[in-house]
């Protein structure tokens, strides 16, 4: 009986690791969830990505994010699983927003816990670097010149390759 409920709890936590959503998220709430009933992890590393007001020297007024439903979740799950095999980490949470976003709005959240800080720092950066080059999201920028799809950056590829 106890084994069954433990298994259920595990599945529940795993399903909560990835969220693709239109709605905003609360950094404080996400940190609270990473901390809740988690006395073994002494480190929490969080990354939040926001919409900048400039890109390539142009003023940006906002973004629209498109994604590939189904593949997005699968690709993020793969990245998280690789991170778990490479580092000794506890909990992971990845949130990515889609749809229309304005300047200063939160786009992405990656939170990782671990017993000691090194694993959480490294795994968090690894997840973000691979999300950038493998997860099927695309940004369309709104500028005074109109709307344009962003080009991928070569520097993002080289960052991911370093791992």
């Amino acid at each position: 009986m106890q084994a069954v409920s433990k298994q259920r709890l595990k599945i529940k936590i795993m399903n909560q690791e990835i969220s693709i959503q239109i709605a905003d998220f609360s950094l404080a709430d996400e940190v609270a969830l990473l901390e809740q009933d988690n006395a073994i992890d002494g480190a929490i590393v969080t990354f939040t990505g926001r919409v900048r007001n400039h890109n390539n020297g142009m003023d940006v007024s906002g973004l629209t994010l498109e994604h590939y439903p189904g593949m997005t979740e699968k690709s993020l799950a793969k990245i998280i699983n690789i991170a778990k095999t490479r580092w000794n980490i506890g909990r992971v949470k990845v949130i990515h927003r889609i749809g229309a976003l304005d300047i200063g709005e939160q786009i992405v959240f990656v939170g990782v816990t671990s017993k000691h800080r090194h694993d959480a720092f490294a795994a968090n950066e690894f997840i973000m670097d691979f999300l950038k080059v493998q997860a099927p999201f695309w940004k369309k920028e709104r500028t005074e010149q109109g709307e344009a799809w962003l080009d991928a950056k070569a520097t993002d590829d080289s960052k991911a390759q370093k791992w």
């Binding site: 590939y68 992405v108 799809w149 080009d151």
Partner: protein, 82 residues
């Protein structure tokens, strides 16, 4: 039949998000690309772009990947999330 989906700039340029194509004479992603390119000049120009990425059943793959009837194949530009 093979379900083919397009995303982002590619979807807009083709003015098409999804189509189905007969799996006859198609055994790899490269075969499918070639067949799509032969549809018209616009498909030809867009599928000549070597930076285009492909996925089969939600996994990123290269052109050698074999495909069969019932698969979902996606083509899209390099990703720019995060």
């Amino acid at each position: 039949m093979i379900k083919v989906v397009f995303f982002a700039a590619l979807r807009e340029q083709l003015n098409c998000g999804e189509l189905t194509i007969s799996s006859e004479n198609i055994t790899t992603v490269a075969d499918l690309k070639q067949q799509l390119a032969s549809r018209n000049e616009q498909y030809q120009a867009l599928f000549a772009n070597t930076s285009l990425l492909s996925a089969v059943n939600h996994d990123m793959v290269d052109g050698e990947q074999s495909i069969k009837s019932g698969d979902e194949v996606a083509f899209f530009p390099p990703v720019t999330g995060g």
